[in-house]
Amino acid sequence: MQQTSIREDVILQFVSRALSDEGFRASLADDPEAAQKSLSLSLTDAELQLLDEFGRLLQQHGPEALEELIMQELQQPGERGG
């Protein structure tokens, strides 16, 4: 059975490392599984899936361009909270 829990701490640790460590970003492209293991965390299937997605975005755009894309996202009109 798939483990579906996702912890914010895990994602924050992954993103922090990916933003600050160029070597880690490079290893995400070469061997994503090994890169994720290097975080010394036990990851659920859902977390692995999300980290893969994030890793791909970082690889595809690089940290600065990804930030710009997120800014563009925030500028799109969204729904009201209610």
Binding site: P63, L69, G78, R80
Partner: protein, 324 residues
């Protein structure tokens, strides 16, 4: 981003607005009494027109439909959800000093009386008439929990809140109790009204709760990072970028955060330099993924599933994770 099945979302939004209008028209004792509550409906009509995907309208119907086809009772319960939202929103607007034009000429006390007469009176009256006892208990529990979230939201973030030592935990608790619990309420009302079993109810709650939190986070990040934002900062609100910036600490961040309104441009630049925007996006992606996972497990007709996905895309991080 286009709404998939926009016609369906719009038709449902209009039907729910009409149900809300009927509830008020039937319950009020005179035209004068109705006139006290009509501004609330006018705000609702404007918001529904601007945002047919409004969760207070769509979530109860989606939740009902995950159990069985829609009927008059489902619309009526959704109408009650919309009225609850409009009352809560009016209260929030007064607290944040952002009173919409429809309330023009009314004092803050008038607005608060109208709002509280809805969520402390009319909502329970109508639910009791419908003999929807589970829904009545759900509203009572949700409003109580949401009021705690409101306390957290209105308390200056620099003040101590001993149970939650970390600002991030405190902020996420607030987002869960305010937007998360509010969305969960709408979904739970729809699901219990349709006679959902425990398994289904739990999934629809999970979807709505995480959708609400993701939406709150996205909206708060927009307020912090976009130059046109800053309302939350003016109102002294704690948001995720502030919590993460404070956690990162260092340099002049701590002292700048103490006088945030004055240093907002510097703090925005510092936050961008430290990748706080991407970190925030990572947290939003967590909640988005939780909502998505629950939604995938729900049984829904295809057009309604499209509406649910559109809601998720509009509310939370929109297209970057559109396929995730």
């Amino acid at each position: 981003m286009a709404i998939v099945n926009a016609d369906l979302a719009t038709a449902r939004a209009e039907a729910v607005l009409e149900a809300s209008r009927r509830i008020i028209e039937d319950a009020c004792q005179s035209d004068w009494h109705r006139s006290k509550l009509r501004p609330l409906l006018a705000v609702g009509a404007r918001q529904v027109g601007e945002s047919p995907l409004m969760p207070a309208v769509q979530l109860p119907l989606l939740a009902h439909e995950s159990v069985r086809p829609l009927d008059e009772r489902a619309l009526e319960l959704a109408g009650i959800c919309l009225l609850s939202y409009l009352a809560i929103d009016a209260f929030d607007n007064v607290a944040d000093r952002e009173v919409p034009p429809e309330w023009d000429g009314m004092s803050a006390s008038d607005v608060l009386l109208s709002a509280s007469s809805i969520f402390a009176g009319l909502v329970y009256k109508r639910l009791a008439e419908l003999r929807a006892w589970d829904a009545t208990a759900e509203v009572a529990r949700a409003l109580w929990e949401m009021s705690y979230g409101q306390f957290l939201d209105m308390t200056p973030w620099q003040s101590d809140e001993p149970e939650r030592p970390s600002l991030r935990e405190r902020y996420l608790q607030m987002a869960q109790l305010k937007a998360g619990r509010q969305f969960e309420l709408y979904a739970a009302l729809g699901a219990t009204g349709a006679g959902a079993d425990e398994g289904n109810l739990s999934l629809i709650r999970e979807f709505a709760l995480n959708l609400g939190i993701a939406g709150q986070l996205t909206s708060d990040c927009a307020d912090f990072f976009l130059p046109a934002g800053g309302k939350d900062i003016e109102n002294g609100k704690l948001t995720l970028p502030i919590a993460l910036l404070s956690e990162a600490g260092g340099g002049d961040v701590a002292s700048a955060l103490q006088d945030i309104e004055r240093h907002i441009d510097d703090l925005r630049a510092e936050a961008r330099r430290r990748g706080i925007l991407t970190l925030c996006f990572g947290v939003i992606a967590c909640y988005r993924a939780r909502a998505r996972s629950a939604l995938d497990s729900l049984t829904l007709p295809a057009p309604s599933r499209d509406v649910a996905h559109s809601m998720l895309d509009f509310l939370a991080a929109r297209s970057l994770f559109g396929g995730a």
